[in-house]
């Protein structure tokens, strides 16, 4: 071996040593991290100290949901669809299932009925309606001036046709559940009838629908209000409609803009529909294109897009100062985050929840209530989301201003109270390790399932675990890690295959236009992942959609009672309500981010100058 070779060998060994050392030191970094996490958890107690470090706290009440002004004549608006995928391109309300597609459709088509702030149908839409006294028969009259983009009038037949298509056994979309409330739809679907009994075309513009039973839910999003142009679709077999050119290449609607061209999956150009029934749109044209989430801020800053359909709220504090050419519109979002307790499984045979409190580790309501008292959701909102999420109280989010009952007192952060409840309920630390055992003196370890994704997922889950540990409840992450989205819903029971290892989970719901929570917490719905049911809950939920509840005051009362009952029973507890922020270039005026009760319609949006404002 020559000297040079020895030198080389030495050098290689040095390198290897270096790598080993590096590996060690990164290991010790990890432990350092988890320690500092604990430190943070404790400083929660101390109060405001941590808030200072995290910067400004915002309040959603300071944001306006709309922006008004005097637009110039014409102009082109660039709209960004923020997506890390392409849009699927099923551009028709009757067939789409992709959320991005609906953003594309919204520009050129619209529902036939308008809605007010409670999502109740109004007489301001393209059609007006009348209801019989029992509330199960509706007569709709489509306005004379409402035409398809090709100039053909929208007829009652078009509307009935849409429902017939959805009820057809060959239909490949996901909206069948939306039309089953009409008399005769199920018979038609099963091939037992040639037509739908509950649909009656009275004349060219008038359609009568008969529903199986009257319920207030019909009035708030329970009616299928999207027509399908029969003169275009009638020759296409139902199974091929969703892939046809009439949906994918040259779709038409009744909205303020017409589709001019589509580059599949990436962009759409629209021109104004001069014949729009509310009046001529202000803009000449709109260009919609897909923007990657990584580049949203840049695209807004350079004016490449005037606005986007959604903006990650957690980025707001970073860009608030630098994006001077943009105004942020904001509102309370239609969703909430919650922590759920698993108290049973899904009975696939009978399609209902199979509650089993005996064998559930969280079957005791006192334990669940104590766990609610143990967490500080206001601090979560401020520390993780700069105040753009905040402590949630009941399961009907404040988004439903009318139904949300803010007089109900819900548990807020109070570790002493949590300790007291647990002591009284018999959860005592028998073996002196700082962790409580269950009333039978057995070890109690709860498995917590939480979804991965986003920067805050991990620290947030850790925070909850630490908060519970401080009142002596030992909680561990399921499998010791966060769960990927598909995996999470699979195991939490999206198809009824509940994972028995899960005791607690953190989920989120974005709620529908109808306040009725049966679809999430009813005894016969698979989405009720807690598998909790009880008579009172079922009674209140049924009461809320009963014919008597057609009376708004009565319905409010029922849902107040339900909210209170859920706070008492704690099958789940809501953690934070959310906000929604939408950045809009300063040249854009007359834009309202609310879909319901919006004071400004889409045809009114305009720009004040030809070029976007840049910083």
């Amino acid at each position: 071996m020559g000297k040079a070779t020895i030198n080389k060998v030495l050098f290689i060994m040095m390198l290897m040593l270096f790598l080993v050392l590096a590996a060690c030191s990164s290991g010790s970094d990890d432990t350092g991290d988890s320690k500092s996490d604990e430190g943070n958890g404790e400083s929660e107690d101390a109060g405001s100290e941590s808030e200072k470090a995290d910067g400004k706290i915002y309040d959603i009440a300071d944001f306006s949901p709309l922006k008004e002004g005097e637009p110039m004549d014409g102009g082109n608006l660039n709209f960004g669809l923020v997506a890390d995928t392409v849009f699927a391109g099923t551009l028709n309300y009757n067939f789409y299932s992709d959320a991005y597609d609906s953003e594309v459709i919204d520009w050129f088509d619209e529902a036939l009925l308008g809605v007010d702030e409670t999502f109740t149908y109004t007489q301001d839409g393209a059609a007006t309606w009348e209801m019989n006294d029992e509330g199960n028969e509706f007569t709709f009259t489509i306005r004379d001036e409402v035409n398809w983009h090709d100039g053909e009038p929208v007829t009652a037949e078009d509307w009935a046709f849409a429902i017939e298509v959805i009820a057809d056994p060959d239909y490949d979309g996901v909206r069948y559940g939306d039309v089953t409330s009409i008399v005769g739809v199920e018979e038609y679907h099963d091939g037992k009838a040639d037509s739908i009994e509950g649909l009656e075309i009275i004349d060219e513009k008038t359609l009568k629908m008969t529903f199986k039973q009257p319920t207030p839910s019909l009035l708030s999003g329970g009616i299928w209000t999207y027509a399908l142009p029969k003169h275009i679709f009638e020759d296409i077999p139902v199974a091929e409609m969703s892939s046809s050119d009439a949906v994918r290449v040259n779709p038409i609607g009744i909205g303020p803009f017409k589709v001019e061209s589509i580059t599949p999956g990436e962009s759409v150009t629209y021109t104004k529909n001069e014949d729009y029934w509310r009046g001529e749109p202000n803009l000449d044209s709109v260009t919609l294109k897909v923007i990657a989430p990584e580049t949203v801020t840049q695209a807004l800053e350079t004016g490449e897009v005037d606005m986007v359909h959604s903006f990650p709220t957690d980025q707001y504090p970073d860009v608030e100062e630098s994006l001077t050419n943009v105004e942020f519109l904001g509102r309370i979002d239609r969703s909430y985050t919650y922590i759920g307790f698993k108290m049973g499984t899904w009975d696939k045979e009978n399609n209902k929840v199979a509650m089993d409190l005996e064998n559930s580790k969280v079957g005791d309501v006192e334990l669940r209530r104590a766990m609610w008292y143990a967490v500080d959701n206001n601090a979560v909102g401020e520390r993780f989301y700069n105040g753009l999420r905040w402590n949630a109280t009941t399961l009907i989010p404040s988004f439903y201003e009318i139904y949300h009952d803010d007089s109900i007192e819900t548990p807020t952060y109070d570790p002493d109270k949590a300790n007291q409840i647990l002591d009284e309920a018999g959860y005592e630390d028998v073996d002196g390790d700082g962790i409580r055992e269950n009333p039978d003196g057995e070890e109690l370890v709860l498995n917590f399932a939480s979804m991965s994704g986003g920067d805050t997922a991990e620290p947030l889950a850790n925070y909850y675990i630490q908060a519970w540990e401080q009142v002596g409840i030992k909680v561990e992450k399921l499998d010791g890690r966060l769960i990927e989205f598909n995996d999470f819903y699979d195991r939490v029971g999206n198809e009824g295959n509940d994972d028995p290892d899960i005791d607690i989970y953190q989920g989120a719901w974005s709620v529908g236009t109808d306040v009725d929570p049966t679809g999430l917490w009813g005894p016969n719905v698979i989405f009720n992942y807690t598998r909790w049911e009880d008579e009172e809950n079922t009674r209140l939920l049924e009461e809320g959609v009963s014919p008597e509840a057609m009376d708004l005051e009565y319905r409010k009362e029922v849902y107040s009672e339900w909210q209170e009952y859920m706070v008492e029973q704690v099958p789940v507890f809501p953690t934070v309500y959310r906000s929604q922020l939408v950045p809009v270039n300063k040249r854009v005026v007359n834009w309202d981010i609310r879909q319901e009760d919006s004071e400004l319609y889409r045809y009114e949006v305009g720009v004040t100058q030809d070029e976007p404002v840049t910083p």
Binding site: V86, R175, G265, A292, N486, Y489
Partner: protein, 320 residues
């Protein structure tokens, strides 16, 4: 040689079958399906169940597999659930974008790599060589998605020289000259980003081959016979050094089809890589399996092509 090609293709066939079975089983094991993402209180669970039944998602995997294979032999790759269109139509929509992007990046790669490699090899251990080698180490160490973001930020947003997303400007009519120019224009920046990173391996191959070759006896002979230095490099050394690059070419062709996931997603460039990624995320299985099959076939053919190219470039290699 024909015998060789046919034999290779025959071996390929069971490989593809194995690949597709494997993909099918793994797809089955993945949590969730195409409808999992549709958890939405406005869509009833019954409607979703109806869909699962219709799509055959409730069947065991071997029945789904048999369905798929019987469609395949008839040239039908099935329907994409998410796009609600035929997989063949979907792929043909995307494949042109990817081929364009890969061709652009391949051209850039060779334009940059060959001169740099030659210079680096010819003047090895000179300061110039150090700079080029330094660049290639940097290139090895830089993750492509970070680099692509930086390129996008500088040339797309700060300088505004290039479009920042999509494969074509909105509103242009397909088939016009303007449309094709816009297509090419959109592919330039992502193509360049890929090229600047992927050149480094080619530079290093070329450099080490040249350094190796120039010490060979026949080069000494050529010099002794009085051949000019340029002639020695351009004729004798270059031709001999190009061998590994030529062999690599077959593989590069494969990438023409499979695309590049990261760059495509940074530039929102709708190509095959992006399609593959989002189909996996959305559990759009018919697309995933078709793409895997396609990519598998492409890489097997690429390997074959590499062998054939090698035998043409280097007469010493004989395929039997």
């Amino acid at each position: 040689m024909w015998k060789f090609i046919i034999r290779r293709l025959l071996i390929t066939f069971p490989q593809l079958v194995f690949l597709s079975v494997l993909v099918f089983i793994m797809a089955q094991m993945m949590p969730g399906d195409a409808l999992t993402g549709l958890i939405d209180p406005t869509i009833t669970a019954e409607a979703l169940d109806l869909q699962r039944e219709r799509l055959g998602l409730n069947n065991p995997w071997y029945i789904q597999y048999a369905d798929w294979v019987s469609g395949l032999v008839q040239g039908d790759l099935g329907q994409s659930f998410r796009f609600k269109m035929d997989v063949t139509a979907l792929i043909s929509e995307r494949v042109m974008n990817t081929i364009l992007l890969s061709a652009v990046s391949l051209i850039f790669t060779y334009i940059i790599a060959i001169p740099l490699g030659i210079v680096s090899g010819r003047y090895n251990d000179s300061p110039l060589d150090s700079v080029i080698t330094g660049y290639s180490y940097l290139g090895f160490a830089t993750p492509i998605f970070i680099f692509a973001l930086v390129m996008l930020w500088i040339f797309g947003f700060q300088l505004g020289w290039f479009p920042t997303s999509g494969s074509v400007a909105p509103g242009l009519e397909s088939g016009t000259m303007e449309y094709y120019i816009s297509k090419l224009y959109h592919a330039l920046l992502p193509g360049l980003s890929i090229a600047l990173i992927s050149v480094v391996s080619t530079i290093q191959y070329l450099r080490s081959e040249i350094v190796d070759t120039k010490q060979k006896d026949f080069i000494v002979t050529a010099r002794a016979k009085g051949a000019s230095e340029n002639r020695v490099y351009n004729k004798h050394i270059f031709r001999n050094s190009i061998l590994p690059i030529a062999a690599f070419f077959g593989w590069e062709i494969t990438s023409l089809i499979s695309g590049t996931v990261f760059v495509e997603s940074v530039f929102s460039y709708p190509g095959m890589g992006l399609l593959f990624l989002e189909s996996i995320m959305q559990r759009d299985f018919s697309v995933v399996t078709s793409l895997v099959l396609l990519f598998g076939a492409a890489s097997i053919l690429g390997a074959l092509l590499s062998d054939i190219i090698l035998s043409i470039v280097d007469p010493r290699i004989r395929i039997k």
